[in-house]
Symmetry: C2
Subunit: 139 residues, 2 copies
């Protein structure tokens, strides 16, 4: 399961599993709504009143370095995180309410090969986002 995988990876890199880190990992492993740093922190402060924003940021930096989290950068919505599927996959984003969902996987292998051929780049990863209105916001 995701939580165990994350913990395993951090231990392999000689990181300590503190209660704070465990809590952040747990939220990331169990959230499908692509939370922000702010929302992770808000959720945790209820149970760990001293939990600081800096610790959430530091844990996320750590997970990014370990490749255990996917960062989605948005200048409007702020950065959002996907701890369940830390590999590139498409997202569908509502420009009205900020909802982000994962549609079924799309295979971009072939397109990626074509891009490498055409540009000479050695492509390592990609990002594919669709923007529009979710069913609720189409009123």
């Amino acid at each position: 399961m995701r939580l165990e995988q994350m913990i395993e990876r951090l231990k392999e890199s000689d990181c300590r599993i503190t209660p704070q880190r465990y809590a952040v990992l747990k939220v990331l492993a169990n959230s499908s709504e692509h939370p922000s740093v702010e929302s992770i922190h808000a959720k945790l402060v209820e149970h760990y009143p001293t939990m600081s924003l800096a610790t959430v940021y530091k844990t996320i930096t750590l997970l990014k370095r370990e490749g255990e989290i996917l960062e989605l950068e948005f200048s409007d919505l702020g950065n959002r995180y996907d701890g369940r599927k830390p590999y590139p996959h498409p997202h569908v984003i509502c420009t009205e309410c900020g909802k982000i969902i994962d549609p079924s996987h799309l295979d971009l292998e072939e397109i990626t090969s074509k891009m490498m051929e055409e540009t000479g780049f050695k492509i390592m990863t990609h990002r594919l986002d669709f923007y529009g209105l979710c069913p609720n916001c189409q009123g």
Copy 2:
């Protein structure tokens, strides 16, 4: 040509074409390297010593509202802008030197339709970025 198109659009929206705006538009219309606000400003200060960063930001906000510019959000590289092709198109980005190029157009029509069917979203636009090493940075 792009510059004239931008000017036309701003005039239609009753915006004044000041020397400062004209200068920003000119840079955006003629740059293929997807400049940042900072680099646009740096280029212009040489000729217009009083040109302020705020004015560049305000002009870009205006162009975004008018749909005459494409904003590419990156938390590492900072936001970058494409004034030549203000519609969605793929980008190939070097993670080493920050170079951004436009490969030939890819048709995502069919994929977009599939996404709409699957998710119920009304998709208006998209973003597709490939990340890797450009030929120069592969040493």
